[in-house]
């Protein structure tokens, strides 16, 4: 039995590995990576990713603490909703956010001008799709912190806030890192929602798609390889 199982594992492995390996070893014309439009796309992608990750962290830290430590009515429902962005198809996320913002008048006037084809539209999309990854990562971290540690800290004279900063935060450091990376990675790989909300300023995946449509496979390869390498770096940090 083991032999057959190992054989199937090999097939599965090769199915994933070979395309990645082939792409990395056949990157096409890498000098293209230094064109101004490419550098600009990387700048937009990474900045939007960092900003969305940062906002996501600020929202998730308190939210995750409440979800991990407190019981309240409809908690399951709230947790379910907060997971939903992971399940909604990417294009649909774009349609949904756009029709919400443009459907409610005060919102349309307030933020409408900063969304469509705007840097902050990209941040909004990244935040929406990345938030659940951050939130779940922090929640898992806090759940893994024995509540007795908080209890003892309180009996030793530390207030709730003090305990949060001196006990919880240092203990979920790795979850903060993991959550940030996942949130960032999920953001920068988004393309479906951006095609709806913010084609401009172009992010790297949009530029890859544009190159593919206008100039074909060969023209999109170098950028694709650069993105694979970026993903690999993120991924290696994560492990």
């Amino acid at each position: 039995m083991d032999k057959i199982f190992y054989f199937i594992l090999s097939i599965t492995f090769l199915f994933i590995f070979l395309p990645i390996f082939y792409s990395l070893t056949n990157p096409g014309n890498l000098s293209y990576l230094f064109h101004a439009e490419v550098l600009e796309a990387f700048k937009v992608t990474i900045l939007a990713g960092i900003l969305a990750t940062f906002i996501s962290l600020l929202l998730s830290l308190p939210s995750a603490y409440i979800l991990a430590r407190k019981e309240f009515k409809f908690k399951k429902f709230v947790e379910g909703i907060l997971d939903l962005p992971m399940a909604i198809p990417h294009v649909v996320v774009g349609i949904m956010l756009l029709s919400f913002i443009y459907g409610i008048d005060p919102l349309k006037e307030l933020v409408g001008p900063y969304i469509v084809d705007n840097f902050f539209g990209i941040v909004l999309v990244y935040l929406f799709v990345g938030l659940p990854f951050m939130l779940n990562s922090l929640k898992d971290g806090i759940l893994a912190v024995d509540e007795e540690l908080e209890h003892v800290s309180r009996t030793l004279g530390a207030s709730k806030v003090k305990t949060f900063f001196t006990i919880i935060l240092p203990l979920i450091r790795n979850n903060i890192i993991t959550g940030s990376i996942l949130c960032f990675a999920r953001g920068i790989s988004e393309v479906g929602a951006l095609l709806v909300i913010a084609y401009y300023p172009k992010t790297v995946p949009i530029l890859i798609l544009e190159n593919f449509n206008n100039f074909g496979l060969q023209a999109s390869k170098p950028l694709a390889v650069a993105m694979i390498i970026l993903s690999l770096i993120i991924f290696i940090i994560l492990k």
Binding site: D146, V152, S153, T155, L156, G157, A158, I167
Partner: protein
Amino acid sequence: MITIKNLSKRWKEFQLKDISFSLDKEYCIILGPSGSGKSVLLKCIAGILKPDEGNIFLEGEEITNKAPEDRNIGYVPQNYALFPHLNVYKNIAYGLTIKKVDKLKIERKVREIAEFLNIAHLLDREPKSLSGGEQQRVALARALVLEPKLLLLDEPTSSLDISIKEEIIKELSKIEIAVIHVTHDLVEARSLAEKLGIFIDGKLLEFGDKKILDKPKNRKVAKFLGFNVIDDKIVSPWDVKVELGGEYKVLNVLDYGYYKKILVDYNGTLLKIFTKKNISIGDKVNVYIQ
């Protein structure tokens, strides 16, 4: 002095029912079966859980609704709960650091308590590298260094090997402040108790000195302590004499080395007897209840 008045609390599957007792600077053991919710009592006293009813007074002052950080009560949970990201020194110093005590004074106090508990050589170690007994001492030191008015211990030896357990009992016997120590271990209770309470099904059934262990009055307590209850009389297993040859069947024999515990079918009730005689499962015996 700590006084508990009519304390009641429901929490998860556990409950406390109308607990009242009072304690001076004594070592008090609360003995009861494992999983009977003795920890809930400690959590209420520490301020981690709010009681549903009743009051708690510490040195005359009511503390029932005070935050845990304002009580100055030491708490050592069952799993020790050492802060895994701090080394032993920083664990012990934690409370003093929070109180912004002067650094030199912290250093002196930490070394003092560490020497008292024989862990001075461990101060640079990480908690996860310590054995269970060492972790327990560090948790004790972390609580004691603040000179609390009362120390709460939750089954402090339950996950320790027998020899380490004996050492911890030795350390505990040195503590001179008021202690409430919950346990299900009879040896611990006998060895340490100045005051003793017996806690079964959420109620404090007996409270007094440790003679309770040898002369229980309540039948539930007697059963928990391993006594026989025959015809409404409470009989110690040492007070039943047994002889080979007779009408009662021996159902089980446990060999404790120095003596044997034998279980006899005595007209349908299970009679526990301690004896030094050589008796085996299946033997027929006669019994004499004194």
